[in-house]
Symmetry: C2
Subunit: 331 residues, 2 copies
């Protein structure tokens, strides 16, 4: 027991040394502006013994994905997956040649194909359901390792934001547990989030399809994906998703659109000091510049709210000004 | 970077030493019978480099709660909480004096009060909804720290199984992540699971009521609990709950009733070697003896299935024979 205690204390000593080491070299891709200073000042306050100290188990940080951890233009990457998937499986569905929206997808007429919520739902269900979880995971894995972005030619997993990868490392080095809280599909994200962000499946919260447990005669058993929505993890759904999956109010929340506003408000309404960070897409040269008028990642109410509440600890990150680098270097 | 790498490697070295230390003194309350030997043999196989090795991130262990981690007789402890809660709040509800099932609850006539699913639902909703998450957590905290078991006089948190607490420690020392997957209420469990089992809120899966996000004029924001069921995490619901919360098929699953059968079958149907453990309540002297005929923790189909599949790695724990101790010592 005594030996164990000695081992455990050196274990703790070394882990604290490790985090100090990492903290010393944190956030190299961030310019030394207010945004970076507010973030690091907050983390120092909650990790140092003293008035603002927060015990490690309560250091929960939540991140939206599309537009916050990776890019979302010219269309949500998961929608690109859905469209590619329809093309790849069209031989099994001759009926698509005459059925909308599939007909337009196969003809490359995205304007018609994506012209209504009904159409998009049909495209998503046709590409995301009617198979087991394991089959779906394999399909996503195959796509994510080969598909490339239409504008940059990069793999989608190289369209992640280098400064945000550094924030994830920095927060974990300071004892935070990092979660994705996305309007995107939970099972789509879980396939690659661990490898790309270091976030395991059990720390991914997202939109879900209905599922059914299937027991085979031979003793096999799997989860089958249904063509129906079980939960939409967006807007007011995000605080609910956080409560159901995490069960604690976050200490820090990152987002980029109006769909994240409720999550950031929920976070900031918790006891003690909290931090809400909005990534503002202002960088037309290195990425995209969009906010109020954009259909993807609409940032209007949230932009007003964050501007109004800067004094209350809301941070508005100006991509063009606050980030030295946007995307990671690729070999 | 180099300094960091040295620190990290010693970090890993020491954590492996720690787990070895713990493994050496594991499971003291378990008799040295087949059950204990099969469990430790399995854990050694998946943790030692070699054919059966499983990387740490995939070492997921799931545990039912009622009847598996703590007792469930003479009634589910959460139902005792609900009944106590009604008595404690009756002054605010004069209408209960004439309304069933509340009238019978207050008169101490449990036979009538609990005579139908409708009645039980009314009792649960009246005691578990119509308040914010924070309010509910406080109510549960107050109850769990003071209420005592009618037969033993112990606090309910002292009605946990010492051999199972040792299994939780043993598996965590061997790199497993431990989750509760309960038919009970997720928010009821999360209040005390971390202190009692070392399982944080984000690793608790359970039955949920519907919730609503509420934003106040003053900027306050909370999750309100509704009087409706959102998800029942029992029977075929358990594999779904595991998939939605954890996103990986468990390597080990523990249960005690037919409500856990689907979870254990789902676990065993995964690739490679897996382990399913059923706790059989055979100890009338130290605890309770019940299975096929019991309304609480009915163990009939599961008992047949586990007996039939012993050769496939299903373990049937005989409480009376396999456990030296049932409950922890209390100061």
């Amino acid at each position: 027991m005594n030996a164990k205690r000695i081992l455990l204390s050196s274990f703790l000593l070394i882990s604290s040394l490790c985090s100090t080491t990492l903290v010393a070299q944190d956030l190299p891709s961030w310019s030394n502006t207010d945004a970076r200073q507010q973030l690091t000042a907050f983390v120092e306050t909650v990790t140092k013994e003293g008035a603002g100290f927060v015990e490690q188990s309560k250091r929960i940080a939540v991140f939206d994905n599309d537009g916050t951890l990776w890019a979302e233009q010219p269309m949500y990457f998961q929608l690109a997956f859905a469209l590619d998937r329809l093309k790849a499986t069209q031989d099994k569905h001759p009926e698509w040649k005459t059925q909308e929206p599939f007909k337009s997808v196969l003809a490359g007429d995205l304007k018609t194909a994506l012209s209504s919520h009904e159409n998009i739902a049909k495209i998503v269900f046709a590409s995301h359901s009617g198979m087991s979880q394991e089959e779906f995971q394999q399909v996503v894995k195959d796509w994510i390792t080969t598909a490339t972005h239409p504008k940059t030619g990069r793999k989608y997993t190289d369209m992640v934001y280098q400064p945000m990868l550094e924030v994830l490392d920095y927060l974990r080095a300071n004892g935070f547990k990092t979660f994705i809280v996305s309007g995107g599909g939970i099972d789509f994200l879980r396939v690659w989030a661990e490898q790309v962000y270091g976030i395991p499946p059990e720390q991914v919260v997202g939109t879900r399809v209905k599922k059914e447990f299937m027991l085979n005669a031979d003793g096999g058993a799997q989860i089958m994906r249904q063509a129906a929505i079980d939960f939409v993890n967006d807007k007011e759904g995000k605080p609910i998703g956080i409560d159901n999956h995490i069960g604690r109010r976050p200490l820090i929340a990152f987002g980029n659109s109006d769909g994240d506003l409720a999550m950031l408000q929920y976070t900031m309404a918790g006891e003690g000091k909290r931090l809400a960070v909005y990534i503002h897409h202002t960088d037309k040269g290195r990425e995209w510049a969009y906010d109020r008028e954009s259909h993807i990642g609409t940032f209007d109410k949230g932009l007003d709210y964050a501007t109004e509440h800067k004094k209350d600890g809301w941070i508005l990150v100006d991509m063009a000004k606050d980030w030295k680098v946007v995307f990671p270097e690729v070999e």
